[in-house]
């Protein structure tokens, strides 16, 4: 086996009701330093983590969503969002924050990290990974 494993972070929980989403993101940020093949998956209520327009001021907790936007700088380039999960919640790709990375193979062109995939594709992505960190 090669030294690099395919890590898949599966996020299924909404952002503020529990700390799972926030602390999951902290794992991604730390994990980025290990030079593994990293991908994020958002299914079920996990898609709410990427919906833009948060104002956490009145709640009195830190808005950790900007860290998602910064993931491109950590070389996280694959963010899979399940289309059915969006649709079931009345959401479209347009409701999501922008996440980008610079593609070194394409003269550092800025590209979207978000890839909308079907449920079937999501199942295949899970099957194709080496290590799943479930949140």
């Amino acid at each position: 086996m090669s030294d690099v494993k395919k890590f898949l972070y599966v996020n299924r929980k909404a952002p503020h009701g529990t700390i799972y989403a926030w602390e999951s993101l902290e794992v991604v940020l730390i994990g980025a330093a290990f030079e593994q093949d990293v991908a994020l998956a958002f299914v079920d209520d996990g898609v709410f983590q990427l919906v833009k327009g948060w104002d956490t001021g009145e709640l009195g907790v830190k808005n950790f969503q900007p860290s998602f936007t910064a993931l491109g700088d950590y070389d996280v380039q694959k963010v899979y969002v399940e289309r059915e999960a969006l649709e079931e919640r009345g959401l479209t790709e347009g409701d999501l924050i922008e996440m980008t990375y610079e593609d070194e193979d394409d003269d550092w062109a800025e590209k979207s990290s978000i890839r909308i995939v079907s449920r079937e594709e999501m199942a295949a992505i899970m099957a194709d990974s080496d290590v799943i960190l479930s949140f």
Binding site: Y20, E23, V27, I30, G31, A33, Q36, V131, I132, L133
Partner: protein, 130 residues
Amino acid sequence: MKLGIVVYEGPYQHEASDTAYNFAVAALQKGHEIFRVFFYHDGVNNGTRLTTPPQDDRHIQQRWSELAEKHGLDLVVCVAAAQRRGIVDEDEKNRHGKDADNIAPGFRISGLGQLIEAGIQCDRLVTFGD
């Protein structure tokens, strides 16, 4: 096989720590290696030695500590999650000027990198949570 076990929930409130413990015992009985047990989220609360359950209940922290001593298990509590929840070892106590520490025997506080390393090193990672 080489196993990594991840525990996301504290003791008593949720069954996750019980399931993880019973799974760990069974894995050791079958001769598998447990590379590390990583406690994250509220799971860090498994690592305080100050818990005092009623005598007719299982002592979840003590069970983990004893298993660690018997089999040389590496029980790791995530430092960031631990700081939020008041799980403190001698170093953390001094660093943050607290009046006491509470880490249980066999547990150690370390960074999230330990979880990633478990993912890299282990044949399987098994997660227990809510």
